[in-house]
Symmetry: C2
Subunit: 244 residues, 2 copies
DNA sequence: CCGTATTTGTCCGTATGTATG
DNA sequence: ACATACATACGGACAAATACG
């Protein structure tokens, strides 16, 4: 009996595709943390398949950058250090500028109104500091922008980069104070888009990402100084070492 | 006994990695054209392995975007239409701007001199219209810029996009008149970098890509009008249809 | 419309290499 | 340092789906 673990019906795709989505979910939900070893046998039992589809799914995820494959040792969940996370932010900033320019060039009045509705929704959630409500609307807002850019390749690439950021060691730091602060930035973005000003839209979207990058840097710095004042030497070594 | 088919020593990586590189080469060399079906059995015989490593390599290449996998039908070499190629150019333009900014911020005098040397080499080749000599130097120039940007993730991403452009249906059109024209653009780029002007460097690199995009558009337009004047109706249907 | 051939999807057995006691 | 346990890497075989005649 396959014993479906999750609650979702699982679309009738190939086993490899299902395993790939499943492993991806395991990573996004934090069930598989950065640096963890991915055991083929355990996963094959969990998904109710043999090891073949699992292996193929791991190759795909390794190419995408979520896993790293070490010959004769296995695959591990990739771990992003601060430097790599900042690199991703820089790339995102460049892509966001392109996105803003593209959107401002071709958006319709109805689509502008739609963006304002999402902004209002975020404002409501932010006013009550309701992160549970803010997060999905924020996601919908950025997904809408992604779609409005009208560039399928950019959409795929951008989503891949977002997933990669989940591999940052302390992904909790990524959203530090994002709710209150970035609301103003969101309004600025939509303002520029509504005025059909490609330059301003690009700049405001780029700045939005770079501001998030700076918030991450500040959060990391704050955490480090706090650890130093506590005299914490090396508290988090999950017992795995990366290869020399 | 494994019986190595090819003549090259083949680095002692895993069979999957070798197969992945091998298939990639087949695509880049044009031995596998866009839309072609990738036969697992034929490739396994060619590489002297079983189907397992081939299948895993195909999953990786599909995730990278070089192949598309259709369930129960097999994997096909992806084919870029004009719209998709233009999308890639737009993305490249954004990444090139980031690259130019990053380089201008941190380049050393010695590295600037190195870039000028490469420019001179391209000038020599361009003066004699020697495409065989121009191409590798041009590649080295852009590879050097990629390395100077000091962003590993950007480097990996950019190379992936370049590979993707090889999947454009008429990749011959991609280099139309690139030799003579883009020399001036290259000098402009290095000039801005040498002056350590991040804004100017970013703009000149972005413009370089967008100019290439315009040259592609012009070449496609020229080809289409020529076909129309000849009365060619539908000459190139390679006998494969994509799924409904 | 049906039967056949070919190809993909999946599973399992074996060998090889690594980590551990 | 040696032997053992374990996981991956690879190969081969069966079943299902598709394409062709």
């Amino acid at each position: 009996m396959p014993e479906n673990t999750g609650g979702t019906p699982d679309a009738p795709r190939s086993l490899t595709a299902r395993a790939q989505a499943g492993i991806e979910n395991l990573i996004m939900n934090g069930e598989l943390r950065g640096g963890d070893r991915v055991n083929e046998i355990a996963l094959s039992e969990r998904f109710g398949t043999s090891r073949g589809p699992i292996r193929e799914a791991c190759r795909a995820l390794a190419q995408e950058g979520l896993l790293v494959a070490v010959p004769n040792r296995g695959v591990f969940v990739r771990q992003l250090d601060l430097r790599e996370a900042l690199e991703v932010y820089d790339i995102r900033s460049a892509l966001d500028e392109l996105m803003g320019r593209s959107i401002a060039e071709r958006i319709s009045d109805a689509q502008i109104a739609e963006l304002w509705t999402l902004i209002d929704g975020m404002d409501d959630a932010a006013a009550t500091r309701d992160m549970e409500r803010y997060y999905p609307v924020n996601l919908a807002f950025h997904n809408r922008l992604l779609a409005l850019a009208n560039n399928r390749r950019l959409e795929r690439l951008y989503r891949s980069l977002i997933k990669e950021l989940h591999l940052f060691r302390r992904k909790g730091l990524l959203q530090q104070g994002s709710m209150a602060i970035s609301n103003a930035e969101h309004r600025q973005i939509v303002n520029a888009i509504a005025e059909r000003d490609p330059i301003a839209a690009g700049v405001s979207m780029k700045s939005h990402v770079l501001a998030a990058k700076q918030r991450l840097l500040a959060a990391v710095e704050a955490e480090r100084s706090e650890q130093l004042s506590r005299g914490v030497a090396d508290q988090n070594n999950g017992g795995k070492r990366r290869r020399a």
